[in-house]
Amino acid sequence: MPITSVIPDAETLTLTVVGDYAVPVERLWAAWTDPRQLERFWGPPTWPATFTAFDLKVGGKAEYHMTGPEGQKSGGYWRFTEVHPGRGFTFVDGFCQPDGTPNDDLPGTIMEMEFESTPGGSRYVAVSRFPSIEAMEQLVAMGMIEGLKAAQAQLDGVLGLEAA
């Protein structure tokens, strides 16, 4: 498995994922910064992502939506706060309202991506910093994990009731 470690921290609400690959770091960087490649792995097969904008610079934005099995759409955006070409970037991953405008009621997740060469090829380290448990649960509800659709839909309902 390419993922070599996953470190969740329930007290700081962070998730650190490390992936090691037998490809040069430039190739790994390209997969993460080319919207045509990103949309092939950002979302699961049941809820694929489509990136409609991608402006990799400080203050720039990426726009994407996920499309569900019945054509439901769920929109998101990235706002880049740091960019170090070839080495890493940091962005805020946020939710959009149905009309595509950022949802300011839900704070975004801070994502810190770092890329480096390794003896075996290259590695990325992704640190997700979640603003709250509610935001994490919202992300889970939107995550559409393959093979767990029925349970997931019900979990949505359960968490929706809890949030009310």
């Binding site: 993922i3 998730l15 997969a31 792995f41 699961p44 448990i133 029925a150 359960v158 009731l161």
Partner: protein
Amino acid sequence: MVVRMADDELDRLFRALADATRRDIVRRTLVGSVSVSGLAADYAMSFAAVQKHVAVLESAGLVSKIPSGRERLVRAEPEQLARARRALAELEAIWRQRDIQLDAILAEPEE
């Protein structure tokens, strides 16, 4: 080690929720605590069957039982750390799926 525990936790969580009666129990107990007999009164099954459902939910961390006189009250357990752990386990699963797809792309010859 941490990763394997998260997988088990995730399995228990989704197994617990893959049943309509158990989902209903979680929904009801999120609103307020209910005794096991109170729950059983509303389902067309034996008291023992309802107890078994509650036990599955309890082992997944979704409910807990509080003694109240002669009865046990069932309440949902949205306490912060357990919720955070559960959500993190699920987000981890999202990352693993994402990683499988990324790996497939990287295995393709570049144009």
